[in-house]
């Protein structure tokens, strides 16, 4: 990167490409995004407050944030195990698994939704074994967690995997030579190097889960106050043409998303600084 800065640039097309980039960005993204904030300004405070702080909305926030944290946490644990196994171990079917990890990116969310529902419903492949134990997954908050775990899985694996691949094993060797046990090496040498990536993966999975609609709508059952996530609540307000209410809630969610985006950017900067050091 440093090599590029001081040379005189002879390449053509800067004005054309940057101009097109900015114009297209403006039309497709910035103008639509700005409408939502303009629309919010047309609301009065009581209107805004009534929409964003009603008991039904608060219940939806709790479920959305809670289930997203749960899904991202499950993914942090298991995603780490998947990434670790893929990078450090050899086993049959490794390539297949490595390729399949991206499935939640590629599979349309409505397909994921109906399939997970079919599997985890009371008579489904897995649900039938859980039902006698009194565990209800589909049409319960647990189902939301399952769906959000599914959609967030690749984020954690794909954030940790490259960092793990780049991790110089010399440090581990040095630790072993100096008498550290494998567990000590892991806790004191490997884990600190992975923490920024793990946090980034968690944040990415969390952000994705917070906005998720397609896979949740089928498995959750959509009962207000009980299994209704925020995107679903926005959807039902839109269907009743309550645009003001939908806008107010959407602004809250957008603000949360942008805060997470900012956090992820800072994490990544921290992470790359640590890798460079």
């Amino acid at each position: 990167m440093a090599t590029r800065t001081k040379r005189k640039n002879v390449l053509p097309g800067f004005g054309l490409t940057l101009g097109f980039t900015l114009a297209y960005l403006g039309i497709v993204v910035l103008i639509p995004i700005s409408t939502i904030f303009f629309k919010t300004f047309t609301l009065t405070w009581p209107q805004f407050w009534a929409a964003v702080a009603s008991p039904r909305t608060v219940a939806a926030y709790k479920l959305s944030f809670g289930a997203s944290v749960a899904g991202a946490s499950i993914n942090s644990v298991f995603g780490f195990i998947v990434a670790w196994s893929l990078v450090r171990y050899e086993f049959p079917g490794k390539t297949l698994i490595d390729v399949m990890v991206d499935l939640p990116f590629a599979l349309p969310t409505s397909v994921a939704g109906i399939t997970l529902t079919a599997i985890y419903a009371g008579n489904g492949w897995i649900g039938q074994y859980l039902a006698p134990l009194g565990i209800k997954v589909a049409y319960a908050p647990l189902g939301v967690v399952v769906a959000l775990t599914f959609v967030g899985l690749p984020f954690v694996v794909r954030t940790i995997q490259p960092v793990l691949e780049d991790l110089d094993q010399e440090y581990e060797e040095a630790a072993a030579t100096l008498g550290a046990s494998r567990l000590q090496t892991f806790v004191l040498v490997i884990a600190p190097a992975l923490i920024p990536a793990l946090l980034t993966g968690f944040a990415l999975a969390f952000a994705r889960a917070l906005g998720e609609y397609g896979s949740v709508v089928f498995i959750s059952g959509n009962m207000p106050m009980h299994t209704e996530v925020v995107p679903l609540l926005i959807m039902s307000k839109l269907e009743q043409f309550d645009y003001a209410g939908a806008t107010a809630i959407a602004v809250v969610m957008l603000t949360a998303s942008f805060a997470i985006l900012l956090g992820i950017n800072m994490l990544q900067r921290w992470s790359s600084r640590r890798l460079a050091a």
Binding site: R4, N9, L11, G13, F14, L16, T17, T21, L22, L25, V28, V29, L30, P32, I33, T35, I36, F78, V82, S85, V99, V101, D102, F105, A106, L107, P108, T109, S110, V111, I114, T115, A118, I119, W125, I126, L153, R158, Q161, P162, E165, E172, E173, A176, R182, L210, G211, Y213, G214, V217, P231, M235, L238, T247, A250, L254, S257, F258, L261, N265
Partner: protein, 306 residues
């Protein structure tokens, strides 16, 4: 999709292929290895493999004849047509944007570049439902612009153009995000040489730039296409659910499912699942070709020298 930094990945692979001796101090005890692999397999079986198997099992529950009948149903075919049309508009536009943005960002320095990169990522962090809602607010009959359009009999929301617009928004960053790191990794030496030797801008682009990034470009197209065909939340908001008219395949799946036509819903889903699997296979083959190996070795040599 986040890309690993191109240089680092091959570096790791190269150091392994040199036949590095087994490092005794860095191996986990066998019981740890077996336990972790077992946990991984169970977790992925529950969350990745079972869903894929279930799609096909449910789709074929009523036999192959019912499966085919569900897919050649006129409403299913209309949904397939609209899905293909939407992708055919959204993908070229966003890929063109990706090429332009990656050229400007990877080849030039200008103030606000970091901000531009962040702005390009916005659609990733917006919930699909909110993405669809943006266009309803902007272009719906109650909005000033939408009212004007309605007066001129132009229907966008609750019609096909709305679906296309929402899809463009949702898939907006994908191609650019793929191309920017590849363009940076390839470097500009060959292009500078072409220009210095007298090539015109387009000549340089078609003879040097495009061949250098073609696999990455193709990969960006595949990703963009998969997301365009599979988008559900955003198009659901703008579609208005008019049967056989404004349904894409994911929306049609929802309608069938809510009608308790489960086998048919899974039959259409199986097509989308095949698309997803094809996308993953394409990713496997394209990703490794995305950055030319020769240049990367140069890059590595430079890193070592530095």
């Amino acid at each position: 999709m986040e890309q690993p930094p191109a240089g680092g990945l091959t570096f790791a692979m190269a150091s392994q292929s040199e036949g590095a001796p087994k490092r005794p101090g860095t191996a986990d005890p066998p019981w740890v290895r077996r336990t972790l692999i077992a946990i991984m397999l169970v977790f992925l079986l529950l969350f990745l493999f079972l869903p894929v198997i279930a799609v096909f099992a449910e789709a074929l529950k009523n036999g192959i004849a019912a499966y085919i009948a569900a897919i050649v149903d006129p409403e299913a075919l209309a949904a397939i047509r609209l899905t293909l049309m939407t992708a055919a508009i959204a993908v070229p536009l966003n890929v063109t944007f990706g090429v332009a943005a990656s050229w400007a960002i990877a080849r030039f320095d200008f103030p606000g570049k970091q901000l531009l990169l962040t702005l390009i990522d916005i659609p990733f962090s917006v919930s699909p439902v909110i993405a669809g809602m943006l266009f309803v607010l902007l272009l719906g009959v109650r909005a000033p612009l939408g009212g004007w359009l309605a007066d001129h009999n132009i229907r966008i929301i609750f019609a096909e153009p709305g679906i296309v617009l929402a899809t463009i928004f949702v898939t907006f960053p994908l191609a650019a995000r793929e191309l920017i790191p590849i363009m940076q990794a390839v470097g500009s030496e060959e292009e500078e040489a072409a220009v210095v030797l007298g090539a015109g801008g387009w000549q340089m682009f078609f003879r040097v730039t495009l061949p250098n990034v073609k696999w990455g470009l193709l990969y960006g197209m595949v990703l963009c296409n998969a997301r365009a065909m599979g988008e559900f939340g955003a198009v659901s908001v703008v579609s208005g659910h008019i049967r056989g008219h404004t349904n894409t395949m994911p929306l049609y799946v929802e309608i069938l499912y809510n009608d308790y036509q489960f086998a048919a819903a899974f039959a259409v889903s199986s097509l989308l699942t095949l698309l997803a699997i094809a996308t993953l296979i394409a990713k496997y083959f394209l990703e490794r070709r995305a950055v030319p190996v020769k240049r990367e070795q140069d890059d590595m040599a430079a890193k070592i020298a530095a």
